[in-house]
């Protein structure tokens, strides 16, 4: 394989839509580019777009950042093939179960627009010298930086402090020229069309290179979460916006939203690190440099400026260490970023907190097995004791323990989730997106040194309070498949833990 030219990008989308027509559809963007090209996007997902949350991923905005299109195509092809063939998906050291892939396809719509700026890409890929590093679109009057052309503080000379240093320009010869007006370019308006056409887009990623960064809002000034009136819509701050390390102006983002975006970005970072150890940095976009008119800030700003619009959590990925790495390195970067995108989709789906954990344990019917002692579930960085009224863990029986909604465990105030208002609950929330991060396990604590417990099967189902109707993830042990001869003994002489991983529980 090699870098895709612009024809191959579009053909790849058409081919994927045709080959996997039961789970995806081709979107033809309404506006042709200045050079007359028609762009396509892919919508992946079993549900209609209005019945679930949507994620929009765009690439190829800057012409010279070639690999972004390849990331999008490879990611789409991986999702579709893994789903249809019922396989796990592996990127280096990071493995996603088919169950996880299934939840993405069946609970979300993922819209992938790989090549927003095909004219620019074609120019970059067919010219030598400085033109190979062309960044903008191919507007014949003057090329425009698409990622400075959105309607977010676009008029930066009048909306930023004269002392600010935003990387954006009114000079048509500049690589960061913002264009004659907001949304002046067909490429920008195509992205706007997607945002309007898919009103349940709640997550957005714009893929760029380089610097190995994962960026979140805002790009115009440092964030603050204490003064909602200090915001980009407030004209009284127009002369002071964009200065680092001052208090005259800082952009407002609620503490909740900030927690959400930082958490989501950190999950992506961890996912990338799992592939081959690359250490991407999570930071606010402004920490890179001040900007105006970017896709990320526009996407997130819409719910403030346009009545009835969904809040869109928005991110920019800056992959790699150069615009056009050798293809052998680009292949590795594709694995890194694809892993982060799968993780992103998983976490987006499971926003919120854990509201119910159901643990089913089948005990082996083995001679010498006893049930004296205590059994714990490790999840989300802590433990719960699996203990309810009456007999439990008898030989050859199955017990079900519920923590959270419908709790049946003892002492749910401490040994539970903070859901039931009828009792004082001292137990903290477990953010759902930490469930896959911390190890999940069953631990046996023998009462006496001779206690031996035989386990035949374990299944854990975890649901989030964010999703309506609830969707959950299953966790189980690959070793325990329900057959009598693969049971595990837990005792002080042979080990006390059983590790669990994501995947559909064997019936």
């Amino acid at each position: 394989m090699a870098y895709l030219n612009v024809q191959a990008v579009e053909s790849a989308l058409i081919s994927l839509a045709s080959a996997y027509s039961s789970v995806c559809g081709l979107i033809t963007l309404p506006l042709q580019t200045h050079e007359g090209r028609t762009c396509h996007a892919l919508r992946i997902g079993k549900k209609p777009k209005t019945e679930c949350d949507n994620i929009l991923i765009i690439g190829g905005v800057h012409a010279r950042e070639w690999g972004s299109c390849e990331i999008c195509i490879s990611f789409a092809a991986d999702l579709l093939e893994a789903y249809v063939t019922n396989t796990e998906l592996q990127y280096g050291g990071k493995i996603f179960s088919n169950n996880e892939i299934r939840t993405i396809i069946e609970n979300l719509n993922v819209i992938i627009f790989p090549d927003v700026n095909p004219d620019g890409r074609n120019f970059s890929q067919t010219h030598t010298g400085p033109d190979q590093l062309w960044r903008k679109n191919r507007n014949p009057t003057a090329g425009v930086d698409i990622n400075r052309n959105y309607d977010f503080l676009w008029d930066f000379p009048n909306l930023f402090s004269p002392l600010a240093f935003p990387v954006v320009s009114t000079n048509p010869t500049s690589e960061v020229y913002h264009g004659p007006s907001p949304f002046s370019e067909p490429e920008t308006r195509n992205v706007l069309w997607l945002l309007d056409e898919f009103p349940r887009i709640r997550w957005f990623i714009d893929i760029h290179s380089y610097s190995q960064l994962l960026l979140y809002n805002w790009g115009d000034d440092q964030n603050q979460s204490t003064d909602p009136s200090m915001n980009f819509r407030n004209n009284s701050f127009n002369s002071v916006r964009g200065i680092r390390n001052d208090t005259a102006y800082m952009e407002f983002i609620s503490a909740c939203d900030l927690t959400t975006v930082v958490s989501q970005a950190n999950q992506m970072k961890n996912s990338i690190n799992s592939v081959r150890g690359k250490n991407y940095i999570v930071e606010q976009s402004f920490d890179l440099y001040a900007t105006s008119g970017t896709s990320m800030d526009y996407a997130y700003s819409r719910h403030f400026t346009i009545a009835g619009k969904e809040k869109i959590f928005a991110f920019t990925i800056e992959w790699g260490a150069q615009f056009q790495p050798p293809w052998v390195e680009m292949e590795q970067i594709i694995l890194d970023i694809s892993s982060s995108l799968v993780t992103f989709c998983l976490q987006a789906q499971f926003e919120g907190n854990v509201d119910r954990i159901i643990v089913k344990i089948q005990t082996g019917d083995k001679s010498g097995a006893s049930t004296n002692g205590m059994v714990y579930l490790g999840i989300g960085g802590r433990e719960f004791r699996l203990n309810k009224s009456g007999n439990q863990f008898q030989r050859g029986t199955e017990d079900a323990f519920t923590i959270g909604v419908g709790s049946n465990v003892l002492k749910p105030d401490k040994n539970g989730l903070p859901l039931n208002p009828s009792f004082l609950n001292d137990s903290p929330e477990i953010p759902f997106n930490t469930v896959s991060v911390y190890p999940m396990y069953i631990r046996f604590e023998p009462s006496n040194s001779n206690d031996k417990w035989n386990v035949d099967r374990v299944c854990v189902n975890v649901t989030s309070n964010f999703c309506v109707p609830p969707v959950g993830l299953d966790f189980h042990s690959d070793i325990l498949n329900g057959l009598n001869d693969d049971n595990i003994w837990l005792e002080k002489d042979s080990g006390l833990f059983i590790g669990l991983r994501s995947g559909v529980c064997p019936s």
Binding site: L4, A12, S18, Q132
Partner: protein, 111 residues
């Protein structure tokens, strides 16, 4: 073919670097911005031969030769090699005989 340079500009003075980038409208888009390490500021700049010459002259004219240090790398040949890695034709175009379905680079493992 006109040459292309990647220039790493270093300075102990952030303002000097910022002013230079702004005055010459230097191309630093998506290159990581101005970074700081051990109180030394750096920025990646991409420039044509003509732009690189102007940059060097400007630094001399302003008497900043000792305050802004430029590490200049000619990346013309590097970029030419990358251009050779762009695919030709349309590898996924459907025709009557063959239908090539794109495959991702992730490993698909049967459970």
């Amino acid at each position: 073919m006109e040459k292309v340079f990647k220039i790493k500009a270093h300075s102990d003075n952030l303002e000097l670097l910022q002013n230079l980038v702004r005055e010459l409208d230097l191309d630093i888009g998506c290159t990581g911005g101005i970074t700081v390490e051990k109180e030394r500021f750096s920025v990646d700049i991409y420039a044509s031969e003509k732009e690189a010459t102007i940059l060097e002259k400007k630094i001399v004219e302003k008497g900043l030769s000792k305050k802004i240090i430029l590490d200049i790398t000619d990346i013309t040949d590097y970029l030419s090699d990358r251009l050779k890695e762009v695919g030709t034709g349309d590898r996924y175009k459907e025709d009557k005989e063959a239908k090539v379905i794109p495959r991702g680079l992730g490993t698909k493992v049967k459970q």
